[in-house]
Assembly symmetry: D2
Homo-oligomer: 341 residues x 4
C-alpha cells in the first residue's frame, strides 16, 4: 500500500477523494490536511464519516511523508503549495486550474490571478486519459482537468479530430449542479435562490473556455475557437455539456469516430442508439457517457456528454490518473456502479 494525502480536506472534492480512497486496493489515505481545521476531528466536522475516519485534520508538514499528494485547494492557492512539496519524491496531483493552461497571459486573463511559475506549468502533465494516457504514465506532477472541460472535450474531440464538424462553429451549452461551486457560500449557492430556478452565468468569461480550446485543439490536432455558456441547475451533482456545430459528415462517419475513440476506454461510454445520456446515468461514478446525433435536416451535429462533476469531473479522474501514474489497473478504487435513482 502506498500512502496518500489529501490537501484542502474540507471541500467537496476532498470529501469525494476520501470516499474513493477508503476502498482503494493499493492506496491508503493516511493524511487529510486542512490548515484551517488542523487538529479537529474529521468525523466531528463531517458526521457522515463517523466510525470511518477516526483521525484529525493535519497541517501541510504531514504531506511530505506520503507517496501521493492530492491537492484539492483553490486556484491561486494550489500552485503556491507545490514548490515546498516538490522536494519530496511524492507524486503530486493538482485538482485546481493552476497548471492547465500553457500560456501565462491567458491564465491571468481568465482567472484574474497571478500566473504560476512557468517551469512548474510546463512540467505538469494534463491528465485526460482518453486523449493522452501515455504522457500521464511518467508524470510526477499532474494537472487534473476541469469539470466542464472534461465533459466538453470528451464530447467533441472525436468529431473535431476526424473533421466531421466545420471548424469555428462549435457552441457549447454547459449545465452544472451546484456542488461544482464548492462549499464556499455565495448567493448563487444559496438554496432559496437556486432551487426551482435555472440561471445562465459567467457569460463570455468562464475560465474553462481557454482550457477547452487548448486541450481540445491538442487532442484533435486542430485549433478551433469555442463558445461556452454555462448554466446553474437546481441539483447537487452532475454536469451535462450539449455541444453544437455545423455538420460536415454522415451519421455513419460520426459513429465510427466515437467508436474508434472510445471503444476500449474503461470510463467513457459511447452509446450508438437509444435515449440520450442523462446525468443520473453516471451519478456517483467516474463514467462519462456520450450520445451523438447528426441532424441532416438542419445541418447540425449535436453531442451530449454527462459526468458526475465530483467524480470524472474531479476526484474520480484524479484517482484514475493516479492509477495510470502508478501502473495500477486503471479502475482501481473506481468500480462503484452509478447510483440509480
Amino acid at each position: 500500500m502506498k500512502k496518500a494525502a489529501v490537501v484542502g480536506g474540507t471541500g467537496y472534492a476532498a470529501l469525494e477523494l476520501i470516499r474513493i480512497l477508503e476502498n482503494h486496493p493499493f492506496l491508503e489515505l493516511t493524511t487529510v490536511i486542512s490548515q484551517s481545521e488542523e487538529g479537529n476531528d474529521i468525523a466531528e466536522r463531517y458526521p457522515h464519516l463517523h466510525t470511518i475516519r477516526t483521525d484529525s485534520f493535519k497541517n501541510m508538514e504531514a504531506a511530505a511523508a506520503c507517496d501521493v499528494i492530492f491537492l484539492a485547494a483553490p486556484a491561486g492557492v494550489a500552485s503556491k503549495l507545490i514548490p515546498a512539496l516538490s522536494a519530496s519524491k511524492s507524486q503530486i496531483i493538482d485538482l485546481s486550474g493552476d497548471l492547465r493552461l500553457e500560456d501565462s497571459e491567458t491564465y491571468e486573463k481568465w482567472y484574474g490571478l497571478e500566473p504560476p511559475d512557468k517551469a512548474m506549468q510546463q512540467q505538469a502533465v494534463y491528465g485526460l486519459p482518453e486523449v493522452n494516457r501515455e504522457s500521464i504514465r511518467g508524470a510526477k506532477l499532474l494537472s487534473n482537468p476541469g469539470c466542464f472541460a472534461t465533459a466538453a472535450i470528451l464530447g467533441m474531440y472525436p468529431a473535431v479530430k476526424q473533421q466531421l464538424i466545420e471548424p469555428g462553429t462549435i457552441m457549447m451549452d454547459g449545465k452544472t449542479g451546484v456542488s461544482g461551486a464548492g462549499r464556499k457560500m455565495s448567493m448563487m449557492t444559496h438554496f432559496s435562490e437556486t432551487n426551482e430556478n435555472i440561471k445562465a452565468y459567467r457569460t463570455g468569461a468562464h475560465q474553462h473556455v481557454p482550457e477547452i480550446e487548448e486541450h481540445l485543439g491538442k487532442a484533435a490536432g486542430i485549433k478551433t475557437p469555442v463558445y461556452l455558456q454555462t448554466h446553474l441547475m437546481p441539483m447537487t451533482r452532475g454536469i451535462m455539456v450539449t455541444s453544437y456545430g455545423r455538420l460536415a459528415c454522415s451519421a455513419t462517419e460520426l459513429q465510427d469516430a466515437y467508436k474508434t475513440a472510445y471503444e476500449h476506454e474503461p470510463f467513457t461510454r459511447y452509446r450508438i442508439s437509444g435515449p440520450m445520456p442523462q446525468t443520473k446515468d453516471v451519478y456517483g461514478s467516474s463514467y462519462c457517457d456520450i450520445g451523438v446525433f447528426a441532424d441532416e435536416r438542419s445541418g447540425t451535429l449535436m453531442t451530449v456528454a454527462v459526468i458526475d462533476n465530483l467524480m470524472k469531473g474531479a476526484a474520480g479522474q484524479a484517482v484514475q490518473n493516479c492509477n495510470i501514474m502508478n501502473d495500477w489497473p486503471e479502475h482501481s478504487g473506481l468500480q462503484m456502479v452509478p447510483q440509480y435513482p
Copy 2:
C-alpha cells in the same frame, strides 16, 4: 363581465387559467369543463381551490353559453372540439398545437396525428402579440403558441429580422421544468427519475421545431432552419431557451434591435446589462425576460429567453391574447408580480 369557459379543466394549463381568471376585471370564469370529471366537485379534486371554487366540473354543452372558450385539451383532441363550438358566437382560444402549423404534412410528420381541417387552420390566428398584435385584434379563433416556441421566437426574432446573425446557423438549447409535460404520468415525469437529474429528450423530433421555423420566419421576414435540443430540468416551472448563432453585427446593433422590438411591450422585458435572466425572475408571472450577448472573440451571438411555461408559455399568453381580442387593457388579470424566491 363577459363569461368564460375552460375546457380540459383538470390539466395544469387549466388550473393556471383558473388562477388568473379568479382576479380578471372583465372576464368571469363561469364554467370549468372536464368530460372525465363531469359532476365532481372542483375543490374536492383540487383542494387548493377549496372555498375558491364551489362549483363542479361541467360537460361540453355548458361551453356554448360562454363568450370566451379556452381550449386546454391535448393536441389531436382540441381541433375536434372546435366545429361544434364554432356555431356559437364565442371567441375560441386553443392552447393545443393543433392550429399552429399551416402545412398539414408538417403537422402530421411532427405530431404523428391526423392533421386538423385545413380551413379551420387557416382561420386561426397565431397569437404571439409581440410579433403580430394587429392580426390578433380581430380574431375569433386564436391559436396560442407553444411554450418552447414562445421563448425561442421572442429570444431570436429581433436578431434574425435585423440580419444580425448568419441565416442557417441557429442552434437552440431548450430547458424546461417538468410541468410542461402536464399531469399525464410517464417515467419522464416520475419524481425519482427526474429529480437530481438532467436529461436531453426528443432529439431531432420536438414538435415545436416547425412552429419556431414557421413563425420566426414570418416574424422576421427571413426563413431559416433551426435546430432545437430540448432538456428536462429538475424543477416544476420555467423554460429557458439559450440560442446560439454566428454573429454578424456589433454589440450596439444587437442592443438596438432588441430595444426597437421590445421597448413598448408590456410583458417582454429586455435588459441591456447586468446578469443574464433566470427563470425565477418571471416565476408565476406572464413576463418573458431576454438577455443578449455578442461574443466577438469566438464570433458568437447568444440570447437567453426565460418564461414561466404555464404563464407566458400557456395560460398567461392565452389571457393576454383574449385581452387584445376584446380591446381590454392588455395586462388585465395579469399584473401579478413574479414570486421571488
Copy 3:
C-alpha cells in the same frame, strides 16, 4: 390610498410585501427602505422587479411620511427602530420576533439578545386574527406572529380550547422550507448541503417555542408546555406543523371544535375529510389549511397545518393585520389563488 413603507427591503419578507402591495386596493407602497442599499435601484438588485419598481432604496428617514410601516428587519434590530418611528402617527407592523413575548427573561433566554423595552412590548398587539381579531382593530403597534407559531397555534388551538387533548402531551413536528431562514448565507442554507436532504435542527432551542406556549395558552385559555422539533426541508417555501397529543375526545367533537373555530375565517380552511393538506395547497397564498385525525386505536390526536411561510407566515399575515387595523376588507390585496403546481 394610504402610503406604506417597507423597512428591511432586501429580505424575502420584504420582497413578498412588495409582491402583495403592488396590487393592494387601499395601500400604495411608496417607500422601500434599506440602509445598506440606500440609493441603489431596486430593480437592478432584484431583476424580477424590472419595469415594476422604478425607484431606489431609501433610508429610514423616508418612513416618517408613511401611514403604515412594515418592519421586516431581524430580531434585535426591529425593536431598536421603533422609538424613532413612534413619534409619527404611522401604524407600525413588526414582523420580527422582538415584541411577541411578554416576559423579558424568556425573550433573553430563547433569543440570546437583550430584551426590548418592556413598555413597548406591552403596547404591541400580537396579530393572529383567528384568535384575537378584536384587539387587532385598535392596534397602533402590531407584532406579527412567527411562521412556525402561526401554523402550530392554528393547528392546535381549537383542540386545546375545547379540552379534546390531554394537557402536557403536545409534541409538534415542524417542517420548513429554506426561505424561512432568509437571505443570510449559512451552511444550512447552502444548496449542496440542503438539497436531497432533511435535517432536524435547533433541538430544544427554537425561539418559537415560548411564543407558541404563550399565545396558544392565551388563545385556548389553558396553559400547556409544548415540545417542538423543527426540521429543514429541501424546498423553498412552505411550512407544515404536524402536532400530536393524547386523544381525549371523539372524532365528532374534534370536527365540531374546528368548525366552530374556523368556519367563518377568510384564510384558515378546515377540511373535514379527504386527503391531509399539503404545502402546495397554499403555495403563494395567505391560506392556512388544516386537517385533523383522531386515531382511536392508539389514542392519538393528530393535526396537520400548512402555510406558505412567507405569506400567512409573514407578509400575508402582516397585510391581513393591516387590513383589520384599517377596517378594510380583510382579504384586500390577498386574493391570489394558490399557485398549483
Copy 4:
C-alpha cells in the same frame, strides 16, 4: 463465490441490489429476473448499467440454480413465488412485507391482501440484525424489514427496552423520499405534484405500523401501541423517523441505553452530542444514524433515526442479513462511504 439471483429486477430495490452485488467479495449476481422484461438486455433498459451488465433479464426458472435468491417483488406477489423456490436449497431473502407479521388478520387488515400461508410466515426470520442477529444466522427464509420500520424500531428500541419512556405515549413522525414508493407511476410520485411540496399521507393506515408494534415489542420485551404519521418529502432517497414520547429517565440513562445497544454495531451509529443526524449523512450507504434528546423542560424524549431507504431500508439490509446467514463478515459488499454531498 456463491451465486445470487434478484427477482423483480426492474424495481429500485433490485437496482440497488445490483449496485451492491457488483462489488461483493463472496457473492456473484449471476441472474436478474423479470417476468415482464424476460429476454431484454438489462443495460438497454437501464443505461447506467451499460458495460457493467451485459446479460439479459431471465425468467423465474433461472432462480433455482442460485444459492441466494433476493425477492424484490411487491407484497402479495413475493409470497406466492416462495413455494416453488423452497424446493431448492437456496436461501431466500424476501424484501416485501408478506412475511413480516405473525398474525394473518393483521396482515389482511393493513395490507388489504390475502395473507400468505401461515407455516411459511412462521418459518421466516425477521431480519433486523441489531435486535435478533442470532436467529438470523440459521435462517433459510428471511423476511427483510420495511424501510420505515427499520428506522422506527432502531430509533426507539433501546429507550423502550430500558423503560426510559412511558408506554403508550409513542408518536412517530416519518418522512420519506419518493423512491420508497418505487417505480410505479402515481400522482403521488409525479414530479410536478411532489417537488416543492410536503404531504402527509396514509393517515392512520400505513402498513408498517403493525410491523413496528410487533417487532419493537419483541425487541424491547414490552408491548406498546405506536402512532405513525408518514410524510412524503421532495427528495429521492432517505428516511427520517422522528419519534416522541413522555420522558421517564435522565439524559444519562438515555445515553447509556443507546451506547449499550449500539456501540458494537457495524451499521448503526449513535452519536452522543453534536448536531442531530440528517439523511445525507447516510446517503448511498447502509448506515442508520441515531440522535437522542431528553427535553426535561417539557418532559419529552425525542429521537431521530435516519437511513437510506434503499440501503439500510431495503437492499443494504438484505445483503447484511445474507452476510450473517452465510457467516461472511457482516460488512461484506457494504463498505461504501456515504456520498456527501
